[in-house]
């Protein structure tokens, strides 16, 4: 798989002119999105637009931009606000609470998963506004884990189907990092960032153990990209990037969408998809400014992510003939190990996503478990660090002592590929509604034996790395990261909700273009894959390879 000339590939990619990127998506070269928004085209509810997209995150915004660019009339409904990074975002943990989806949700099961800040966004840009910035690809093996390893599921598409879209999106974000030796080896369009203390610890530890590790891949400009400046290493990737260096659809796809006539309608909470004859969607009911409204449309794409997309479909009582909606929701096991060092690490400097390794990603026949995990730097800020310390059972004087030592700690996190399970699912709460009267979502989650083994194995590796880098004390906690599945793509309607073109089985004009369509998740952060899938679906629609609704 290794190409003969990684160095040449890297050189070619970093020296590449931006012409085709700019023709495909000029977002980085356009005026600030706040200014573009003032002249944004507005549609009437009575206009039958070509597509109404629900949700303006990784999947929804990418689809909106691609369709608008191809001349479609598109309205994108977003429940949250249209952000102005200058005034709405701050370099502060507690002051960034409004970036998360904070509406009521219930979590249950044997291993309940916290939502909100952990994995759910709100507003234009979606959860990519506060995602760390890691943008690895899935490995080719991820697309057929069932036939390869006997676990998980086979996708109705292969890695090669998605590869060109990975490359396109990587150039549009753009992704910075060293040449990637794992999965399908590939270079990145921007060079790697310098590493801070935490990244250095991980590189030191991995080098001592002979584990391959690399800087990146992160969707953070390393050098100027259009009007977007270089990262300033202030460390607040998870609080929204005020610098405009870290990618989110708000700056990577929405500007171009607006200049091509798309309307991003913020503050619009979709509550019900109207259909006729069980085959066609005719529009979307939503609430804006307290008033119920209805947008007519020739086609509908749902991109509300793994909790809200199933919730909307279940509330609309559609697409669920085979009881697949809301099932196979996945999170990654993300144990986090901290190590104390004699020298100052000061992990709050530099982006939290710095260094990662995928050396343990694939199934190792010598191990008792299937599939694997990735290890990455995480670098929590003080409040999140305090959560780590208290999760370890410390409180009172113990807690304060460890907090006083903050600058001496380095933190690694792993992403374990938890397997899809039918009972890890989203359902509607029978007796609880939100302020719009829509039933609240409940998400039940339990781990299987393979999941537990991966958690333990990755903890061992992280502890080894930190010890090899010189750590004198270790603290590991269990947590979960990311969210995918819930309306998975499959070859037949008995196994999933959408087909390989992300069209809902049985419908001519209803699509799902977000992370909920992933049948498996690998050990990769999902943002890049979600964007690539939406790009592919849009490409096939606009080329006419899927009949235009």
């Amino acid at each position: 798989m290794t190409p003969s000339h990684p160095a040449l590939g890297t050189l070619r990619e970093t020296l590449r002119p931006y012409g085709d990127v700019r023709r495909r998506n000029a977002s980085a070269w356009l005026p600030p999105v706040g200014r573009l928004r003032r002249n944004m085209r507005r549609y009437d509810d009575t206009d039958e637009v070509d597509m109404v997209v629900i949700g303006c995150g990784a999947g929804g915004a990418t689809l909106t931009q691609r369709l608008a660019h191809a001349g479609w009339h598109v309205v994108c409904l977003e429940a949250g606000p249209f952000w102005d990074p200058d005034t709405d975002w701050v370099s502060d943990e507690a002051g960034s609470h409004h970036l998360y989806w904070n509406e009521p949700r219930v979590v249950g099961g044997d291993h309940p998963v916290p939502l909100g800040a952990n994995n759910s966004g709100r507003g234009v840009g979606g959860s990519m506004v506060h995602f760390a910035g890691y943008t690895p690809r899935l490995h080719p093996s991820d697309f057929h884990t069932k036939s390869l390893d006997g676990v998980g599921a086979d996708w109705p598409i292969t890695y090669d189907d998605l590869k060109p879209y990975y490359t396109r999106i990587e150039r549009e974000l753009p992704v910075a990092g060293q040449y990637w030796p794992w999965g399908d080896p590939h270079p990145h369009p921007h060079g790697p960032h310098p590493v801070g203390g935490n990244g250095q610890v991980m590189l030191d530890g991995c080098a001592a153990l002979g584990i391959e590790a690399r800087v990146g891949p992160v969707a953070i400009t390393s050098g100027r990209f259009g009007n977007r400046p270089h990262c300033v290493y202030r460390g607040f990737c998870l609080q929204g990037c005020k610098v405009d260096a870290k990618a989110s659809p708000l700056i990577t796809h929405v500007p171009d969408a607006i200049t091509h006539g798309a309307e991003i309608r913020d503050g619009s909470m979709a509550t019900y998809i109207e259909t006729e004859g069980g085959r066609r969607a005719t529009g979307v009911h939503y609430v804006r400014g307290g008033r119920p409204r209805f947008q007519r449309a020739r086609a509908v794409a749902v991109a509300g992510y793994s909790i809200e997309t199933p919730r909307l479909l279940l509330n609309s009582a559609i697409a669920n003939d085979h009881d697949q909606v809301g099932r196979y929701v996945m999170v990654q096991g993300a144990p986090q190990t901290a190590g104390r060092f004699a020298d100052e690490i000061r992990m709050y400097k530099a982006p939290p996503p710095e260094v990662s390794t995928e050396a343990f990603y694939e199934t190792d026949p010598g191990r008792p478990y299937q599939r694997g995990f990735a290890v990455q730097t995480v670098s929590p800020l003080p409040i999140t660090w305090a959560e780590h310390v208290t999760a370890q059972g410390h409180w009172g004087t113990d807690l304060r002592e460890r907090m006083r030592d903050y600058v001496h700690w380095a933190v690694l996190g792993s992403l374990c590929e938890f397997l899809p399970q039918p009972d890890n699912r989203v359902t509607l709460s029978p007796d609880e509604s939100d302020r719009n009267g829509m039933p609240v979502a409940r998400f039940d989650h339990s781990r299987c034996a393979n999941d537990d083994q991966l958690m333990a194995a990755s903890q061992q590796v992280m502890e080894d790395i930190l010890r090899a880098a010189g750590a004198t004390e270790l603290m590991t906690i269990e947590r979960y990261a990311h969210l995918v599945g819930g309306c998975r793509m499959a070859a037949t309607p008995h196994d999933g909700v959408v087909d390989a073109d992300l069209r809902v089985f049985g419908y001519d004009n209803l699509f799902i273009t977000d992370g909920s369509v992933l049948p498996t998740q690998g050990s990769a952060n999902p943002a890049l894959t979600i964007m690539a899938l939406a790009d592919r679906a849009a490409d096939r629609l606009t080329r006419g390879e899927v009949p235009r609704p």
Binding site: D92, H97, V195, W395
Partner: protein
């Protein structure tokens, strides 16, 4: 070309360096932050509104509870943790999820504080606030040790995590706590320049 330093400029530079004051507190650097961030952070140093969510009985239990969780008895900096939590609960700002079997965060706080008083009076015949320091500490340790077992109709570990989550978010959002931890604070538009093990910005004190 840089001219060679004269003895005089070298002496002046050394004097200036010796008399240059390090800012005592991270909050003193607010002039280097963007206005939105400075507004949000400095507001935490300002006057606090009266409590609006907790009843006097709940307040009486919550104060010693938070003092134990955060060991704040001897602190010079008086970080208004209870006031921050009260304000958050009064505004109804949730975290976007709650455990099945537990109510929303606000009512869960009320229930847990009532349970704290009930447990204290069962063991000692007094409210939690009236217990001695050691008795309070032992009772809290007992609740922590219950783990996932039931405590007054709630899984003890969930209550513990609710308490510590809110207490830490309040305490460590205050800029005076950053002086304690050595955290450099907001750094936009300035950014951080000195990255890597063992390095620090000129204004960061060694730890």
């Amino acid at each position: 070309m840089i001219p060679a330093r004269t003895a005089r400029t070298a002496r002046l530079a050394a004097e200036a360096k010796a008399t240059r004051k390090r800012p005592k507190r991270i909050a003193d650097r607010a002039h280097t932050w963007d206005p939105a961030t400075a507004g949000v952070v400095l507001a935490r140093l300002g006057p606090r509104p009266p409590l609006g969510y907790f009843s006097p009985t709940e307040e009486a239990a919550a104060r010693p509870l938070l003092a134990h969780l955060l060991a704040t008895w001897h602190d010079e900096a008086d970080i208004p943790v209870l006031s921050f939590i009260d304000e958050r609960l009064a505004s109804g700002e949730g975290d976007g999820w709650r455990h099945a079997g537990l109510p929303e965060d606000g009512p869960a706080w009320r229930r847990s504080l009532a349970a704290l008083d009930a447990d204290a009076s069962l063991r000692h015949g007094r409210t939690f606030a009236e217990l001695g320091h050691g008795e309070q500490h032992r009772l809290l340790r007992h609740i922590q040790d219950l783990g996932s077992h039931d405590w007054y109709g709630m899984p003890a570990a969930r209550v513990w995590s609710l308490w510590t989550r809110y207490a830490c978010a309040a305490y460590y959002s205050h800029p005076h706590s950053w002086d304690e931890t050595g955290y450099g604070g907001p750094a936009y538009p300035q950014g951080y320049l000195r990255l890597g093990r063992g390095t620090r910005e000129p204004w960061e004190a060694p730890r």
